[in-house]
Chain length 762, copies 2
Amino acid sequence: MKQIICIIFLLVFSLAKSQQNLIRYVNPLIGTKKMGHTFPGATVPFGSVQLSPDTDTIPYAINGNYTGTVYKYCAGYQYDDPTIAGFSHTHFSGTGHSDLGDFLIMPTAGKLQLNPGTAAEPEAGYRSAYSHSTEVAEPNYYKVLLEDHNILAELTATTRTGMHQYTFPAVDSAHIIFDLTHGIYNYDGKNVWTFIRLENDTLLTGYKQTNGWARTRTVYFAMSFSKPVLSYGFIGAKTSVYRGFWRRFEQNKNFPEMAAAEVKAHFDFKMKEGEKLKIKFALSPVSSANALQNMLIENPGWNFEQVKNDGQQQWNNELSKITVDALNKDDLVNFYTAMYHSFLGPTVYMDVNNEYKGLDQNMHRAEGFTNYTTFSLWDTYRALHPLFIIIQPGRNTDMIQSMLAHQQQSVHKMLPVWSHYANENWCMSGYHGVTVIADAVAKGNTGFDMNKALEACISTSNTSYYDGLGHYIRNGYVAEDKRPGTSVSTTLEYAFDDWAIAQAAKKLGKDEIYATYMKRSENWRNVYDSSVGFMRPRLSNGAFRKDFDVLSTHNQGFIEGNAWNFSLFVPQNPVGLISRMGGSKKFVTHLDSLFTMHLPDKFFEETEDITRDGIIGNYVHGNEPSHHVAYLYNFTHQPWKTQDKVRMILKNQYKPTVDGLGGNDDCGQMSAWYIFSSLGFYPFAPGSDEYQLGSPSIKSAALKFENGNTFFIETVNQSDNNVYVSKILLNGVTVNKHSIRHQDIMNGGKLVFYMSEKPTKK
Amino acid sequence: MKQIICIIFLLVFSLAKSQQNLIRYVNPLIGTKKMGHTFPGATVPFGSVQLSPDTDTIPYAINGNYTGTVYKYCAGYQYDDPTIAGFSHTHFSGTGHSDLGDFLIMPTAGKLQLNPGTAAEPEAGYRSAYSHSTEVAEPNYYKVLLEDHNILAELTATTRTGMHQYTFPAVDSAHIIFDLTHGIYNYDGKNVWTFIRLENDTLLTGYKQTNGWARTRTVYFAMSFSKPVLSYGFIGAKTSVYRGFWRRFEQNKNFPEMAAAEVKAHFDFKMKEGEKLKIKFALSPVSSANALQNMLIENPGWNFEQVKNDGQQQWNNELSKITVDALNKDDLVNFYTAMYHSFLGPTVYMDVNNEYKGLDQNMHRAEGFTNYTTFSLWDTYRALHPLFIIIQPGRNTDMIQSMLAHQQQSVHKMLPVWSHYANENWCMSGYHGVTVIADAVAKGNTGFDMNKALEACISTSNTSYYDGLGHYIRNGYVAEDKRPGTSVSTTLEYAFDDWAIAQAAKKLGKDEIYATYMKRSENWRNVYDSSVGFMRPRLSNGAFRKDFDVLSTHNQGFIEGNAWNFSLFVPQNPVGLISRMGGSKKFVTHLDSLFTMHLPDKFFEETEDITRDGIIGNYVHGNEPSHHVAYLYNFTHQPWKTQDKVRMILKNQYKPTVDGLGGNDDCGQMSAWYIFSSLGFYPFAPGSDEYQLGSPSIKSAALKFENGNTFFIETVNQSDNNVYVSKILLNGVTVNKHSIRHQDIMNGGKLVFYMSEKPTKK
């Protein structure tokens, strides 16, 4: 017996040793300054709990007036801020609109304060100054010294629980502030209801309901202290209720039930010098009973180091799905931080017993799959889900199952547009859920009922009351006078999504459906105005709108883009587009101009989501609609320009610094672009099983697949100057085109890029 | 086969014939004028859905100012009102504070109006004039003509569903107004959240969350129309949410998701002359999925008459548990309407699958019992639950199981005080849940774990932070300076409840507990001031409060009563009280004064809950603390005075008219007093198995028990003048005392009262 244990120990030890320590290349602080909108806190891959410091609590609006600064706080944290308000348990990574920031916990010492105070007057509240010199951010670990209180804060997490470890000075009046009114994109009235019970002197349960980006969102919790609470109390604002005999006895102090629209509670302790107070905090989408069960099953003990190490091991496992060798450490940091950011969402949205809340606000059970939420599909259908198909195929089918469950629960019978926490927030445009499904069908990532999935796509694409879709179906385009502001981009997106549906139908042998949707996929032609050479808003009477500015992003018919960028959005038919725009030569000139022209400041200033750094000429990498654009050269007579543009973007738009992301990371889409492009290929048109080849920036890489195969990518003569590809060998055979098929990758093998300083103008 | 069907038919027919049609004696309109606070709508016995017209929607407060008129609308309906706002699905019967009125439906014809309008300006809203001449109110059936719209409205119900039948004139724009903002005891901010989905063109689901008397209350629904909706829309107020791209497409018209703090929706139809639109409306405490299941299982068809008849049959079954012969029809109407009112609550609070929401807001499953809610225990422990022990013993143990589940779910580990819909509203005082349990234990109504129940009683009675209880436990009384306003009545109530606990402990052989609680039960002595001969507020320093008015009900230490009434509240030890108050002679003089003295108007005016008719001298029958008082004479040398007082109260306080109840019916407590007293006995001190004998007003009665026995009560020489009892025979044997034991009744047999014009002064 002893021998066996010994052998097992050695095996585990050697396995752990054989795996590289890749988390050392991850810097969660990248993107936390300016527009990246990433968060630095603790989480496991795809974790429900993403426990992170929030540096400010700017409301969206005060008395109905937009504050103008809330946008900075999509992830709760801005690197330049001097104070931390506390640690909340849910965050989006890289979004351009926001929500969450649930259940803020802040340890304090001394005077009890139940308001956070402001950045200008931090001493007026519970917030604390901190310094980046004491800050450590690693995958699944965050540490900082809260200077005002002299409390060392450490955070870690499991999938459904957060774990806090606070090392106190000697203090008689130590407090845990539990502010349920705190939230990201908060505003007066966002908090609908908050409910807390002190079940015993170490256990709290309850929930919080908000009316924000998710219109009807309820999150349940269970919270456990490592030592008994001595006393407690709360303030409950916004509850203009007749209380009957409420006042006959005290219900705000040491009374174990608290409920109001806005509860701010405190729990008091006496701490010795260096004593640690630990907190476990479990979430559930269904009930506080489930939250408690999640805690008991997933995080039963109090060993902070163990929880941290387990999560970091999970990260190493996920990161090691691609091992790369790079030209320098910066590229490694960029690569693995991109991997890290790609694995922050969608997040698990299901209890350990498989229960979750559905769109109908009823409890559902995920049968045979893990349910996920946070589908930022306008962003992520482009490269993130394609990346998952390669290195997270199991999760990707679970995500598709989650989307299909959403569609079943939807009264519209629509796949998600932008959904989170049992809500459809209708953000952005199109119905790109269909593309995620079609891409999986095309690539054989098929752990779901494909015929049912195709039906879901068709149902989604025929919801006539959705965003101009009726007019689009009847007339071939969204009319600008009917849906002012975004009619052109929506037409282009519908047409692309329709093409993706056609691809899935073709694969499933549904020829009629294929024909119908291929026809719809050509609707991009209906908004192309050949007289100006751009896509242009068209009115319901058939005429193009007279008033039109090709540089402005404001009210010109495009969402997050101007006519220059969005007119190139026909990934389903680049050859057709080039032809329509006057042929390869004219098109290349047009593309070249995009990257080199000067965009006057006034147009940049209207553009959301990006810093000036997120723009190259008039090419906007910080927003998604141009993510395929650099690869368009592949379809022209000057394909080598894809290679230098891709390398330029990789260098220019991704830096291993806190302000290294030029635009929102958008739930991993920006990062997924980096991963693909740095490896040398890109899913130009999801729904096809083809990738466009670019120019890898890595030296070599090994992609280890769930099917057991490994795909090696190697470069010869790689350097920062040698950005052109002179030759490509796939398993020793020359590749004579600018694309590679999915199956070529998934079968395993070796792809060798020969790099050169000069383009090969064949 | 034909023969068998024939025989079955004959059997059913003769069974139905053999049962009397008792519902004809029930007039649900009794108590709907002035202070009865009963509702006239449709419900089955103990039904979850109590579907009734609401005649006004006076808010509790406008801009924080108490309107002063909301109190009239505890049941939603006041007989004198000229208009009906609509029909809502949940109502309390006879309460003195209120909540509910959920999910108002109003059919209208012509112009769409989404506000109810006011009584002064009814044409400004959807409300309609009606006339009592078109109004029919029967058990499980309500009918009225909505004159403004010329729509005949009919209502009926099953336990968990309401059914509406609206007969329309020919109208192209017919509407069903579905006002989720409507509610009883409404005020600005009471509606926390409302959520609706149109699942298909005949089915709606959703929920409503309120913050009212129940602090955190959510009710779920499913609603089905008998014909498809043509169009629909809503107004959603109080949702100051940033909507992202909400405005990009229309979401308020024909968009099947609606959510806001305050949704008012309309559903449009085209109706032919005389065409009926039917609606089924199911409730659930757990989820809209459960509500739908409740509908499908409990009310699957569209046969309105069948649903009405089934419910009326249920009523006949329940009412026929006591068949009486009376001196006149008025007495029959009083008796059976009292029976009807006694069976309106507690209400079933559980889905067909046994799921319900608990105090922790989690879903629970009732294992082996039916879960009930609406426990107005300060009222109902006195006579309603004792009545249930006799004629509804199965339901009473289910109610106790429900209370024990509440206690298990309570963070305080307390039995309900006043609870409804998964909430403790802490209304009134004491912890009378223990008495309901003790009474059941004492009387052998024991379908529950009695030792666990005793533990629940002990836990409840030791919650030191509850309403002065800590001081009471330590010092033997609640200190007026610590709990100003109700310290004396609370002391008296605690002492009585403690005695009840002692009785249960004795029955279970727990002698120590018995001794402890018997000692506590004598705490009434600590607030008796012999210098004035009344119970009196006592300060924490031991002194009686100087300032004291024995007639005032305001701030004198008593809840719903003055010192005259409440000083007599020692049901656990009437002999001790009489002795303490100077002996029988002095006590009788005191009691006589109570019934005959003049209470100046100014003191009446402070008294809530009753009309001037609810007072006899200074004896207040309309409030509960005096309900045992008439029976106190039994313990003196002039017991016959109990007999004439009881008969006087029966005559004086209960009339078969719309304003026939002098005070709130209080969830059936006033009615249960009538039933007991008219039968000749009363549960003077619940927790004891003894009933005090009074003077029956019926001619004869047969009580059919669930144990199969029947107990006959007969009178000889009964008349309105012959109010005195000269002799009593139990199964032929003379009863030589003024009480009878529970077992004597439950064994079946015959009790004969010999009535006389003159008292028998033995």
